[in-house]
Symmetry: D2
Subunit: 367 residues, 4 copies
């Protein structure tokens, strides 16, 4: 086999015909624009494959531990892909406003918003519909994927079929997390609740110390009472979050699962050195890293658009820069993982792990 057949170079290099369908009539600027988007689509395809692999792994019950490192690698690979995607915007920024305007106006309504794979990735990972930011004239993000005259396009079909592809990565990871054994070799209601109670006791003690320090700094009586109120709110929030009482409309099953997921993440992050927990904790960390990568990509996208064309209406009819900045902050998927992060305590004040021996092992020769 030759390199060029393997990589399918000739076919690949024929796909930059642009608006004219004739490469020789195109400027380098338009070729750049197409190239950047093609590179993104290639990366997104790989990111999707990795997310599917990870999802398929976590839907197993039990998840073979021997495969957890593969999941971590998938998440880290997606993160690395988004890191490259972030720096790609530097290439786009070699376009001046005028270069880009030369062909941009003819693109309407073509828009990066019509990238089916970005939508697929959001759907597969588990972005909830109620978090979506409505976009200009579109009733929904699915409308933007319809072809002329409202006909379902291949892009539409891709996303539609992904909407039916369950469970989402989030659901699969959460199911697995909810089975984490806390305080002993097997998962149990009692172990979980006991751990949460001990943890909240430590959290309270710590908050009291911090409150005292903050009171010391506070100037006036008004300030002092504000500070006190803030700390009390913080303590109540911690408890209601961990016991999943923060959404009273949820049913009992949902609450229990949420509590178990949050307790698991709290446990894994709090006792991160315990060897048996190591890969589970790496899973949590790499999911966070992956999601951070996507947020950074959205924010960098907003900055690139603002730099190249300023705050005009996007080709897809969106509010352009503002829309991108808004989605960056709102399109959160693994909210429970981020939520736990704000509650962690420093090691010296953590309650001791019960049944610690169940989480240890050693590689090295003991003899």
């Amino acid at each position: 086999m030759n390199y060029w057949d393997y990589i399918r170079v000739e076919e690949l290099l024929k796909l930059q015909g642009g608006l004219e369908g004739d490469e020789s009539k195109m400027t380098n600027h338009e070729v750049l624009f197409i190239t950047v988007h093609q590179v993104y689509e290639l990366w997104f395809k790989l990111a999707l494959r990795e997310a599917i692999s990870a999802r398929d792994l976590f839907r197993k019950n039990p998840v073979p531990d021997v495969e957890l490192s593969a999941a971590v690698r998938s998440f880290k690979r997606i993160a690395t892909i988004f890191e490259q995607a972030v720096s790609h915007f530097k290439v786009v920024e070699t376009l001046t406003t005028r270069d880009y305007l030369d062909f941009r106006d003819q693109l309407i309504p073509a828009s990066g918003f019509q990238s089916a794979q970005v939508r697929e990735l959001e759907v597969l990972l588990g972005l909830e519909d109620n978090r979506r930011v409505p976009l200009g004239k579109e009733k929904s993000f699915m409308e933007a994927l319809k072809g002329e005259g409202g006909k379902p396009s291949r892009a539409f079909q891709r996303v539609e079929s992904r909407l039916g592809d369950k469970p989402t990565l989030k659901d699969a990871v959460y199911e697995w997390l909810a089975r984490t054994p806390i305080y002993g070799g097997v998962h149990s209601e009692e172990g979980t609740v006991e751990f949460l109670r001990s943890f909240l006791a430590s959290h309270k003690k710590d908050a009291a110390v911090r409150l005292e320090r903050a009171m010391h700094v506070a100037g006036t009586a008004v300030e002092a009472s504000e500070v006190r109120a803030r700390y009390e709110r913080e303590m109540q929030n911690a408890e209601s979050f961990l016991f999943a009482e923060d959404d009273p409309t949820a049913d009992a099953d949902t609450k229990r699962r949420r509590r178990d997921v949050r307790a698991a993440v709290l446990f894994l992050e709090s006792y991160r050195e315990l060897p048996r927990l190591a890969w589970a904790r790496e899973v949590v960390d790499s999911v966070i890293e992956m999601e951070q990568g996507m947020i950074l990509w959205r924010q960098r996208h907003a900055r690139m658009v603002e730099r190249v064309i300023g705050r005009r209406v996007g080709t897809g009819g969106s509010a352009g820069v503002d829309y991108l900045d808004e989605t960056a902050l709102k399109y959160r998927i693994f909210v429970d993982l981020w939520g736990v992060r704000a509650l962690l305590l420093r090691a010296p004040i953590l309650p001791a792990v019960e049944h610690e021996e169940a989480y240890r092992f050693r590689v090295e020769d003991r003899s």
Copy 2:
């Protein structure tokens, strides 16, 4: 001279004593934390020097063209510094939440918000007070810089003296921009107004074409009328922005200067190939690049904080992540430069430059 004396290595390496004042008792994590902030302060010092040099250059009248490339280099150097600052957050992210919490709680109220040099940079560049986001208990950003018992600290003095160091970089650059000769070898009211009128005529024609295209895509009659309204608003806004009628409360002088600055930027970006305009246009582009670098740094800062400790109250009492995200979008300085960007037209529909010969020259031998 030896390297170690020149770099003052020994003195430098003694400044990481931390909370204890004794390095041998510190964890590597705390040393990392201090190191990152010291590295930032060193870079900020240099960024300040470069901004001062550029400001001093633009306060000259006339600005010697031979020095414009030096100003561009200063702006690009600041942009490069912020690019490094962005990637530094990756080092901070090698801290786990627990590592950081170990010493973080004792830092209160010490906070990166107390970095005098960041405030100085904002002040020197020309961030306006009414754009500042109020922070927790502080009445003003100056309060946060006071020492214990409200005594003025060295940090406070630094920023205070910078507040008196006029003109700001923005004002100096704007003064110079306002003198740009448009449509001929010298600056004149007539040339400027004539250019703006021609440009707006082209802008209108272009908007009409784009409107037609958008109408073609619009589905319903309601959508169509919304689209039409949007384009009409766009045309009106363009005119009132360029003639600086967007803020009716401004006095005539302020309006005229704003108009001249905006016209100059529009002119430089529209006819960017003309050799005599080249360095002036590079100045505009590099200022944009510099400001983009600072925005990206603030957004990345928010992501790092969220990743390491989640959305808790900052050590300085701020709302943490939300505060950082908000300042990233609100702390804009060169708003006129960004504003013009959204109005630029593609080259083929620009009006011809009058007196084009005044903007040409050639390096190469003609003989």
Copy 3:
């Protein structure tokens, strides 16, 4: 037009069939491998287009100065592309050795060495044949591009036709440089020689000062005489390089052209602030930046290969890592530009420019 038709997403996403020709049977690792190479080929296509545009510009006589900034942008865009290419290796490094070996052995003799576009880029830029590092069994780099049974492949044809596409970028840029007017508005033998003589006088004076300083530091008499010999060699080399006497076998015309190119670069870099020289100097700097980008890409390539599979024989039969490291240092194109860099002097000791007024102008209103 829709995004998916414009970007040709569906066709693009069907090109990752790999060895099996069936994507569903492929591992994510192989898809990653193909994707990275496809991304590279897309970027190289754009880099080629930019290099051709720049070459076409410099083959004009005279080169319109209004277009020099376009050339600079082409070079900087190529540099940015290579910068992205460098960081792409991080994605490849998410492959473990074992992942890669799984499909690598079946690729023989397919090899990145068979990338026609990399060869085209080298040829177009002007890499000389005698600098090429011979690769394993191949008699020449052209052999590696032949298909099975030695049939000329499309890859072979690409490079062959590029070999006939003259002038190279280097030759075109050098022709333009050789026409630079030195010491006055037009190019002349006298101006050039006079400048070189004045410059060499300053160079000699500077070397004498540096020699004295070095003698002060030198310990023994032997050291002192070595230091003196080194400085004398340096002075002689500077003169023979600038007057192009370093290759005595060259004919008079070649020598004169070389001298003129080197003198031009020396002049442009020495008086870099002069406005009329600004874009010509930016050309020189951006060519250097572009070539540096390519060297860094080759070195990073070597490091990636070493990390993923160690120092084994490459799929193309090459010596792998060593071969890559060797080409990084040997495949130099713009050697005269690099050569001049080592001779530049600090501003205060440069001879004054004669006819300086010929190189000045001012954008700003003088009135």
Copy 4:
């Protein structure tokens, strides 16, 4: 505590006095130069601390597995630091040649080569003396660290005391690796040898297949016999490397330890999914990553120097660019880890692990 006291900002910002000792007389370029080096020294200090922590951990016997993840984090942190150090060169490259020459010549013999901490890091990690590239007039790298008149400087003392600080990181890690239990719960001569024999059998079978494929591609009879010879050499080298017969002058103890280290790395990398091996394997990977980071830093250093001043003699008297490029490739420390990498086989042809159950465990609840 305030930020400015904690970070010691005022003291820090007073250390950029340069050659003059008076900041107000310095150019921004010289401040930049000093700043970059100070930033490097701050990072190197942290890198040293992390390397010491890791070394201290691996000198324990047995190494508590609960701490392996801390070692991995130390290595990754050092790698991240060097990654930042690599991109810092971009800041230096905002210096033009002339900017730098303005103060460079007065620095002689001050040189980055006099950075004690770089030397300390090399020494602590375990760079062997016979790998060092001799530098210009210096008899040894220690000479360069002496003060005027040959007096021992603080820099000299730092490195001297580090030379006595044993074991090196390499030795400590190797001791730990040599105790790895292969083929069962405890380390044994028999398990190790049995594994190596099985592995070499697989390696041989694989080489035979690859040889056949290569023969198929080979053109002439001469080529064919060359290819065959190459594969036979490869097989012999693999065996002599793994059984540490590659250096016949070594004594039996040294050979046995080398064999055990190489066998351990081979084992860990070959069966990387086994949970009990996971952290040990991460140790190996992160050491490789750390060393790669240092090589990339040296190569990037060479490119920066070449770009800023070309190939002149360094301030420290070294051969400049060539010296830096040479050290990048020669200064290898963990050569056994790199060596094993070239021998790994793809998973399907690996021999089965004996006593696999000894390397498994599961986090998740089994019930």
